[in-house]
């Protein structure tokens, strides 16, 4: 589907992970991860809980620190240099499982905060961008409310708009629908699908296989800190090769 639209081999890599390793104490949470993400590519990462998939994408914007290997984002190699990290974070938007909106700020202030303070966008311009993005996620009427007054689905759409306000080149989604009531999952996925169709580079940790089928160029299955299998969605779901993938797919597809 989306994958056949373009030939990805000719496109530049925007994220490169080379031999990335990470430990939590003795626990080897990421082992020898190699991953190349092309510009405009949509990647869905799935796997059982504790498999390291969240840790993987959190390493990309340095919410977690990896101990060995290289992560290159937009040509910048991640290091402990704060300026370096902040530069990468400006280019990479992130959406969390638990929304993490700022409860003491209105929706509009949540959206304009980073553009004003990080990108130094004039306030008026930032508000215009924010309103256009709120319209895009279909809740402009909530702009002056506080996060606590919105439903989970609305909060997650605000969180997506908030990340987009920084005009990121890459979006990371960490289980964006896992904390939502079932009837709200679709409204969030619809926004994400729209975003994917517009050509955003996306890395999504999710178990929404319908979403993976609709937009993913590649599905990655992780288990015990390793990338076990990766393939185009059609092939991935139809002919999983690894036993662990089969077992996992059997479990989650069964539940749906």
């Amino acid at each position: 589907m989306a994958a056949s639209a373009r030939d990805l081999s000719k496109v530049e890599s925007v994220i490169q992970l080379k031999g990335v390793n990470k430990w939590y104490g003795q626990f080897h949470v990421l082992s020898d991860i190699n991953l190349d993400v092309k510009e405009g590519e949509k990647i869905v990462i799935c796997g059982p809980s504790g498999s390291g998939k969240s840790t993987l994408i959190r390493c990309i914007n340095r919410l977690e620190e990896h101990q060995r290997g290289d992560i290159v984002v937009h040509g910048v190699t991640l290091s402990n240099d704060v300026k370096n990290i902040e530069a990468i974070r400006r280019e990479v938007g992130m959406v969390f499982q638990s929304f993490n909106l700022f409860p003491h700020l209105t929706i509009l202030d949540n959206l304009t905060l980073a553009p004003i303070w990080v990108k130094k966008t004039p306030k008026k311009e930032a508000e215009e961008i924010a309103m256009s993005l709120l319209t895009r996620v279909r809740i402009p009427e909530q702009a002056l409310k506080y996060p606590g007054q919105l439903s989970g689905g609305q909060q997650q759409r605000v969180a997506i708009a908030r990340a987009l306000c920084m005009r990121p080149k890459i979006m990371l989604f960490d289980e964006p629908t896992s904390a939502l009531d079932p009837e709200m999952v679709k409204e969030v996925l619809d926004v994400m699908i729209e975003l994917a169709r517009e050509g955003m580079t996306m890395l999504c940790v999710t178990h929404e296989m319908g979403f993976a089928r609709a937009v993913a160029d590649r599905v990655i299955f992780m288990d015990r800190g390793e990338i076990v299998e990766q393939n185009e969605p059609e092939e991935f779901f139809a002919n999983p090769r690894n036993e662990r993938t089969k077992l996992f797919l059997g479990q989650i597809l069964h539940n749906h």
């Binding site: 993490n100 409860p103 003491h104 905060l113």
Partner: protein, 426 residues
């Protein structure tokens, strides 16, 4: 969702009759059983008996007009003593004919506190209110203020620095230039002053006669110690709390060490250290005002306690708030000032005001080192042999004044909690 019942047509039911109105309330809460009924009646009788005795003593048989203690004896409360001594209790040994000065200083400070209690003032106005209010207060109390050149330069340096760090993003080029100019003037001037190129010049504002701090007493002393103690201890406590959570081992170690050290000793011992020990360590010839030393001791002490209260608030924030701020590319000061502190401080308003109230009362410990705060002047009023023997009246009066302040703070805490959480309520 598919419920077909026409909900809107239902009549709302009135609540059960016996739970509404004063009678209903009394029946439910006071006379719900025989045991409760008897307890209620006994307690009411007791309260009436105590109250009637107190009113008899404090009002009906009280003496308001006696001119000596002897005339007061035998009757009820001797409020004539308060009438006779209230000016000493309120203003201590401040020159008698100049009592209007501490009076207006107290009024200025109260106005300052009331104004800054209003949330709409929480911006640059707060600086103006406190700058102006403090200047008036201390001008009234001292009578004369000498502003040395080095202080002016220091203020320029700090002001420019704060402006640069807080407004670096939002400032216009000309505003930023002004900050740079302030910093430059302050830094260069201070160096020249220290080297000795600039003279020890100072601005003298001297409209009134000079009254030194050892003559200050009563309510202004208590208010100054408590207000400025907390005003300085608060930002200091915030820094300590942030430092204690720092990833840098040195900063963290210093903050933990300081907090634990201060919390490990009583305030009294710190005050005695400040008043007796500190002068021994200073080079001979230099003296630091005793009042200032006590003030600094209060600030250090309160800072440690406030830090721990604020740390509680910082720890109550979900990790996701820090991560979201990080993921957006906010740097540490932005994250702290815009995301973390506004939320953490909201959470800790009740324990924070609790600490404030505690410190307001703890300032009375300065009587140990011979500073005449409000409680100490009240105490001194009892020493007069003409009026010996009426401690109850004086302490009751002092307690009443303390109560007004502490109760106001407590109510303000309640208002603030409500006000700050207004928007976030569902």
């Amino acid at each position: 969702m598919t419920d077909a019942m026409p909900v809107g047509d239902r009549k709302p039911l009135a609540p059960p009759v016996d739970e509404t109105g004063a009678l209903g309330w009394a029946r439910k809460n006071l006379f719900s059983s025989w045991g409760n009924g008897i307890t209620t009646i006994v307690l009411i009788a007791f309260v009436v008996w105590v109250l009637s005795w107190f009113l008899e003593w404090a009002l009906f048989t009280a003496n308001f007009t006696a001119s000596t203690g002897a005339e007061c004896r035998g009757g009820g409360a001797c409020w004539a003593l308060i009438r006779e001594k209230f000016r000493y209790i309120f203003f201590g040994s401040f020159p008698y004919e100049q009592h209007w000065r501490p009076l207006f200083a107290v009024i200025t400070m109260l106005a300052m506190l009331v104004l800054s209690a209003d949330r709409r003032m929480w911006n640059w106005r707060l600086l103006v209110i406190w700058g102006l209010g403090s200047f008036i207060t201390f001008l009234l109390m001292f009578g004369q203020i000498h502003i040395p050149l080095s202080l002016i330069l220091f203020v320029a340096l700090v002001g420019g620095g704060i402006g640069l760090s807080l407004r670096s993003v939002l400032a216009t080029p000309s505003e930023r230039m002004a900050y740079y100019a302030l910093v430059a003037i302050g830094a260069v001037g201070l160096v020249l002053r220290i080297v000795g190129v600039l003279p020890a010049w100072s601005i003298a504002i001297a409209p009134l006669s000079y009254v030194e701090t050892s003559l200050w007493g009563g309510l202004p002393v208590t208010l100054i110690l408590a207000t400025y103690g907390l005003v300085f201890a608060f930002p200091y406590g915030v820094l300590l709390a942030l430092g204690r959570r720092s990833n840098l081992p040195l900063i963290k170690g210093l903050c933990v060490g300081f907090i634990e050290l201060i919390r490990g000793v009583p305030l009294i011992s710190l005050l005695i250290m400040a008043s007796v020990m500190l002068p021994l360590f200073l080079p001979s010839g230099t003296t630091i005002d005793k009042f200032l030393r006590a003030q600094v001791a209060v600030i250090l002490f309160a800072g440690a306690y406030i830090a721990e209260v604020i740390r509680g608030g910082l720890q109550s924030l979900p990790k996701g708030q820090f991560e979201a701020a990080d993921a957006m590319g906010l740097n540490y000061p932005q994250k702290t000032l815009l995301i973390i502190l506004p939320q953490a401080l909201r959470v800790v308003i009740p324990p924070l005001i609790n600490t404030f109230i505690g410190f307001f009362k703890d300032t009375s410990l300065v009587l140990i080192i011979g500073i005449f705060d409000f409680l100490n002047t009240a105490n001194q009023a009892l020493v007069d042999p003409n009026w010996a023997g009426f401690p109850g009246e004086v302490y009751l009066f002092a307690a009443f004044i303390y109560f007004i302040f502490c109760f106001s703070m407590s109510r303000y805490s309640k208002y603030l909690e409500f006000e700050l959480n207004k928007g976030t309520h569902r």
